[in-house]
Amino acid sequence: MKVICDRAALLAAVNMASGVVATRTPRPQLTCIKLTARKSGKSADLTLTATDGEAALRLTVAQVDVQEPGEAVIPADKLRQIVSAEEGDPTLTIETEDDACHIRGQDARFKVFGFKPSEFPSIPDFEKIFAGKDGGKTAIFTHTSDGLSTMIGRTLFATARENSRYAVNGALLKREGKKLEMVATDGRRLALARQTLAQSDKDAAPITCIVPARTLGLMQRLMDEPEVPVRVAVTDSQILVAVGTPEDGGIRAALSSNLVEGAFPPYEEVIPRDQDKKVVFDRDVLSSAVRRAALLTNEESRGVRMKFKGSERQLELSSRAPEMGEAEVNVELSSYEGADLEIGFNPTFIVDALKVVSDPNVVMELKAHNKPGVVKSGNDFVYVVMPVNLQ
């Protein structure tokens, strides 16, 4: 194999692939990136493949000149360090010699020992699966990169940090006809994002699966180009994502990942429907007020007290940490319907939600100091947050 690559394009791909390699593993191949150089007629490309056993990523770099097709498997960290450090070079030459790999810049030469390409673990055949030819019960839908990215952004933050008995470290992905939903919860708050697919076969199989939080993060990084069609396929145990279509030069980036096994908590019944207090406020004003009120909270006294005074259309936010101090911030409300209420929330939970709503006017629905609060932005985003009991 011998290729001359554009360094910037290669670096972007290597950086992303490095996110999928395993760090601690008895199989050294899982810490490597596999390079595959192809040439057919005028078109040539270099494909980077990485997998840690749970997830696999395949990226294609088109800005290459393939002089000799072939394969190489080299440690990801060394490849990343070298490509990243060769700042002065617009291009780098990669050439294999048995299991070793030579990387050359203008004034530097690196020889990195790797592994036999045949020893690299196999990854899903994306082309075959997305063509519907894998023979399994695979459900496939197409959405835009913007749409998916937004949905992930509106739910990923609410996933639990690790799997536990009360929450899963992932988000529910649900498709029924044209309706697409993503839901995430850590047991204390729940974020629900909805979108409508542009097209869907009427009899397309419904999808209900839990996608690991890490996979969602990787997916989001793949959606860096706006308005690109993205295909998602879900099998019994895996989710696969492909950017680029056959009509459009083939799959440019593809990701596969195992799904989280288990049942997602019944989330519909958690969304309250009998909230009798409705507040409308400016997203940025509230966000800033909460962040300032949170300055005097600590690990054990996390809550910010929100005192809604309907007649004055005022919200008084305050916090108090023993031995540290107190804070008070006042906010003008756009509107308030219902009786006065004093309720405490973890400020992070409020700010998290305000970060992901696009509408500058946000609605919050409340009921009582020990009942959930609901933040809404149109019909696309529903956020349920449980209060903290303040002293």
Partner: protein, 614 residues
Amino acid sequence: MPSSRRSIRPLPELLVNQIAAGEVVDRPASVVKELVENALDAGATRVTVRLEQGGIELVEVSDNGAGIAAEELPLALMPHATSKIAAAEDLDRIGTLGFRGEALASIGSVARVTIRSRTEAQHEAAEIACDGGETSVPRPASGPVGTTARVRNLFFNTPARRKFLRTVPTEQARCVDAARDLALAHPAVAFVVSTDGRTALDLPPGQTPRERALAALGTELADQVIEVSADEFDDARGATLWGLAGLPAIARATNQAQHVFLNGRPIRDKTVQHAIKEAYRGLIEPGRHPTCVLMIEMSPAAVDVNVHPAKVEVRFRDPSLVHTLVLRALRRALQSADLTPTIATARPTMLGPREIGPAATLADRLRHGPWPDSGAPIDYAATREALASAENGPVDGGRGSASGWPDAASIAEPKPQTPLPAPIPASRVLQVHNSYLVTQDAEGVVIVDQHALHERVMFEQLVARVSREPLERQRLLTPSVVPATPAQIARLPELAPLLSRIGVEAEAIGPEAIGVHAFPSFLFERGVDPVDLMSDLLERSNDFAPDSEEALRDVLDMMACKAAVKAGDRMSEGELAELLTLRDEVERSSNCPHGRPTSVRLTIRELERLFKRS
């Protein structure tokens, strides 16, 4: 029915005394105690105790006290005859060790006793003998001022009692302990104790209490104990205290190493024992007992020592005063002391002061192995030499000295003359195996167990927080379901006040489950699963009274343990620094709430020893 009725009649005097003796004298050690107390009450400045066959054959106590006048000698052996009190009112202000007038008579009824004594006023001594209760007339004898009491053949006439005596070494050890206890309480008096001609104890007169304690218990304890004393406040309330408290590292498997004295009298008292335990709570593992010497002084009117014939038990007029006195003094001392255990690099010798012996518990044996020194290196050189001499006669191994190693002293470098440079501040911390932190202080290398220390720090913070107000609780979207037994569910209302203090809201949701509706915010942040904590709490709840402080501490400890950094958790430099800062701020950071040490220290001296530089 044939009548088996026997008529009631008064018991003969000898039998009365023999029965009484059972209460006062149950083994040679009690004889030692009674006789030494008499000697001390007589104002002796020197007491000599001679034991033969563990005291079963002979207990002889000689003193240089006031002595007994010849004409009073027969009275000394009569029951309820004493010089120490005269009227009932005197019982309220007993200033002497003895007062019941029972001891000598009791001993005299079960042994062959001779007492030789001389007062200052007499020109010659007088001697009286009592053989199983039969007292002779006093006859002149020669001897110095003072009294010598000789007790032979204890229980010779009560074989049943004699049968209950233990082996000679055991009885001997108890005799020496009894004498040592009294010696501890009377540092000004010289004590010499010999067993079958060998000196077991030789304590010079005029020692300070500290000197005496170390001389009697072992000078090697000097850096293992801290001094304890009461303050003016206690003084004002008519009680004072001095003592030495053993560091948590030398805690024992039994409370035998707690020497408590009240007005110079060794006592065993539940109130005091509880106060000691309380003071060390969280510093030593449960099941281990602190070591200490405590001398409590208070007005004789504030305590009733006439509860038990051997006067080991006493009754305080105000037990809480004593409890507070002991607890406060010990706590203050322990809090101000550096309790970080040092790493013992010198291996104990074969018969070292380890707790192996008849009294060692099974746990001790398991801990240390069945051999006194299982860690001793195998001496291959000796084996080699033995083999060589058997086959070829003596051969020089050609490897230097007989031990196979060059003499350590011959290669030791001279000690540096300049003092060690002042240690640099502990800014650099090494995390080892993601479990231990290695840093340094003025004395050497400090190794910290990250989980144990973090747990301790969190525990103290939680205790402080909960004592102010309940923990903040975060409500859950749906209750976390904790499986529970019907009995546990039935206890839930009882637990409610405790749960609300620690920020948990739970209710029964079915016959075999409890639903957790709210949980402390900070535990969520630390990734503690509500189900995990609640299951543990419910299980533990059978063992405690839910409204007790103890239960609260127990539960907070559980929370701290679950929330703390675990062994194996990688910590950032900032976290390391913060944890070590908290170590200095938190009281009792030397031990985790379970009493295990959080840090150990390898001193520079020990390092030098390890590298053979000393």
